[in-house]
């Protein structure tokens, strides 16, 4: 059972953070040099009348606080503006992209977690042996590879064997749901592989050092003195306690998941939210950029909140 105070505080923190991010999102585009106002009329020799008309059309001639008020109100109604590029509501664009990203990232993250924990525990328990050296050195190597390098190498060497671009084949002959899913799954193999390879390393290193620290605790010595079998000590005593700090650290690594996902979506032309952000940057499509930033950030904040609550559920000491 939770102490309601703790949950309330965490939820309040998340809500305040989202509010601050929304405000930052509003301010960034108006305060920084080269802001929306100067870039909005991207016609080089636009007449002053045209510029004024564009500024008026987007409501940028209103006072700042009034713009802010309108922005917040519209945001609460799920309106994030109209994309400059395809003249569609940003919310619709992002929703499609978001649903494309989630399965890819979810599968990659879960695989990376499973492999990372396995490698980390194995290296910690067999510290100093060959399997430790192989495990940790591999992990450090993959930790060091830039995502785009790994992605492009996989793309080049897997081209022709597996689909390397997009999410589905436009000329797919099997019209059934299963045929479509199979096709998407095939397209997903390489992006997921890249994401898993870049993420498992960090997890493995975190789990390894957390396990090592736990294995040095006195209760492990006590458990050994009681003559408990090794397997039981590792599972019931060490791993359980080692997972606690691991959850926090992995929640904090959500940022690197996002980074990886963005780069991978660009490389494999995956029509997800990272790619949407990228094309927004390229075409200076500010509404899409703003919306993408907000959606990604809010997602990360929500997952962080979930990790916090999970942590409190697993570790009773934290609920005070």
């Amino acid at each position: 059972m939770y102490r309601s105070g703790y949950v309330l505080r965490r939820v309040a923190f998340a809500v305040v953070t989202i509010y601050i991010i929304a405000t930052l999102n509003f301010l960034l585009f108006r305060v920084l040099p080269g802001s929306a106002v100067t870039r909005i009329s991207r016609i080089p020799n636009a007449s002053p009348e045209l510029k004024a008309a564009v500024i008026h059309q987007f409501g940028l001639d209103k006072p700042l606080w009034e713009q802010y008020w309108i922005y917040l109100g519209q945001l609460l109604h799920g309106n994030m503006g109209i994309s400059y590029v395809n003249q569609q509501p940003v919310t619709d664009n992002l929703w499609t992209a978001f649903t494309n990203t989630i399965p890819m990232v979810a599968i990659g993250t879960i695989l990376a977690l499973v492999i990372g924990i396995a490698v980390g525990v194995l290296s910690a328990v067999r510290r100093g042996t060959a399997s430790d050296h192989i495990g940790t050195n591999l992990a450090v190597l993959f930790y060091a590879f830039p995502t785009q390098f790994l992605g492009m190498m996989i793309l080049i060497f897997a081209a022709g064997v597996l689909p390397v671009a997009g999410m589905s084949d436009a000329f797919e002959l099997d019209p059934s749901t299963w045929g479509h899913l199979l096709d998407v799954g095939k397209h997903m193999i390489l992006p997921v592989l890249t994401l898993t390879l870049t993420l498992f390393a960090e997890n493995a290193l975190i789990v390894r050092s957390s396990m090592l620290e736990t294995l040095g605790e006195d209760y492990i010595l006590t458990a050994r003195a009681k003559g408990l079998p090794r397997r039981r000590i590792i599972r019931a005593y060490a791993l359980r306690n080692a997972m606690l700090p691991t959850i926090t650290l992995i929640a904090l690594s959500l940022g690197s998941i996002v980074t990886g996902a963005i780069l991978i979506e660009i490389i494999f032309s995956w029509p997800g939210i990272g790619r949407a952000l990228y094309s927004a940057v390229l075409s200076r499509d500010y509404p899409m950029l703003q919306g993408g930033f907000l959606v990604i950030t809010v997602t990360v904040i929500v997952f962080n909140l979930a990790a916090d609550l999970l942590y409190a559920k697993l570790d009773p000491r934290i609920r005070a």
Binding site: G128, Y143, F145, F149, V258
Partner: protein, 327 residues
């Protein structure tokens, strides 16, 4: 690379009476830590890797075989005797590019890290030393920064601000300090309560003197360990931002080399040689820094040296005596 990451268990207890450069004793004493760091093989390997990369970057005007602005071969020519690492999409020699790019990449990483360490150490020391409302305020701000996915914020700021190397440095540095601030704060909070600090305070030393003379030297090694790891993050982030076209398009860095290759469709041409050298250079640099940073951290954290359940100790744990006659 077989035993690089194995921090061999060191049974000896830190000499309790040893006086470090700062006059402090215990496991964080400066000389003891330095000794511990240099004892580890990973330090040597890491320093050699970073040193070689630094040397080649400094000597790049002398040793790079071709110009990095004038094309010297065909588009995506594969590696040959004349061009060891082949050519990129603009007919530039990849070896020369990677040698040149190293310097800029490392300077970007180092400058961003300097900014991040300055901010992080200031926040951490102020927060840990003064406590109270200063601590609450600063840590609240840190929490907000910590939860926001940094690369996305970097993308937005760099996109609105305009692509330039300077902007990349500032953006990375300004967003990367949170972890450092937290680690330093925790350390400062424990140092603040030590007897000698309380004594100095009792003798009437000012806050400034206590912080600069007694606390900063104590958190120094930790700050260095953090900085070394932070450089890897900064270099990594630079390549990511460059890949999104947010770095200076004319600058040659490890990040822009990969970006240009991708931009000119090296992936469909199968020209792995235009991408791999820069990517591997980044990876080597990161591994080198990581090894050094880790061994500093290990030296600072004696808890990791004990493991009651390591494979070696499992069968015969020498409670008394040396290995053969152990009980």
């Amino acid at each position: 690379m077989s035993t690089i990451l194995n921090t061999t268990p060191a049974p000896e207890v830190p000499p309790t009476g040893a006086t470090g450069a700062s006059g402090a004793s215990g496991p964080t004493g400066f000389r003891y830590v330095l000794h511990e760091i240099m004892r580890q093989r990973s330090t040597t390997v890491g320093l050699v890797i970073v040193g070689l990369l630094l040397l080649s970057a400094i000597a790049s005007p002398l040793i790079s075989p071709y110009s990095v602005t004038v094309s010297s071969c065909g588009v995506f020519d594969p590696p040959s005797a004349a061009h060891w690492l082949g050519c990129d999409g603009a007919g530039l020699d990849v070896l020369s590019l990677v040698l040149h790019g190293g310097g800029v990449s490392m300077i970007v990483g180092l400058s961003a890290t300097l900014i991040a360490m300055t901010v992080g150490a200031s926040v951490g020391v102020l927060s840990g030393y003064f406590g109270g409302w200063v601590d609450v305020l600063l840590m609240r701000i840190t929490d907000y920064f910590l939860v926001v996915p940094q690369i996305v914020l970097m993308i937005v700021i760099a996109a609105v601000w305009g692509p330039s190397l300077f902007h990349v440095v500032v953006v990375i540095g300004a967003l990367m300090w949170t972890g450092t601030a937290r680690v330093i704060r925790a350390q400062v909070m424990s140092i603040r309560e030590r007897v000698y600090v309380r004594r100095v305070a009792g003798l009437g030393a000012s806050h400034g003197r206590i912080i600069f003379r007694h606390i900063l030297p104590q958190v120094g090694p930790l700050l260095v360990a953090n900085a070394v790891i932070a450089i890897t993050v900064a270099v990594f982030d630079e390549t990511a931002l460059a890949f999104l076209g947010l770095s200076d398009p004319d600058a040659v860095t490890w990040g822009t080399i990969m970006e240009h290759a991708f931009d000119r469709a090296a992936t469909s041409a199968g020209a792995w040689w235009a991408i791999a050298p820069a990517g591997l250079a980044v990876a080597f640099f990161i591994v080198g820094c990581y090894l050094v940073g880790r061994s500093i951290e290990d030296a600072l954290n004696p808890r990791l040296r004990v493991s009651y359940l390591s494979a070696h100790s499992w069968r015969l744990r020498p409670l008394v005596g040396k290995k053969p006659e152990a009980i």
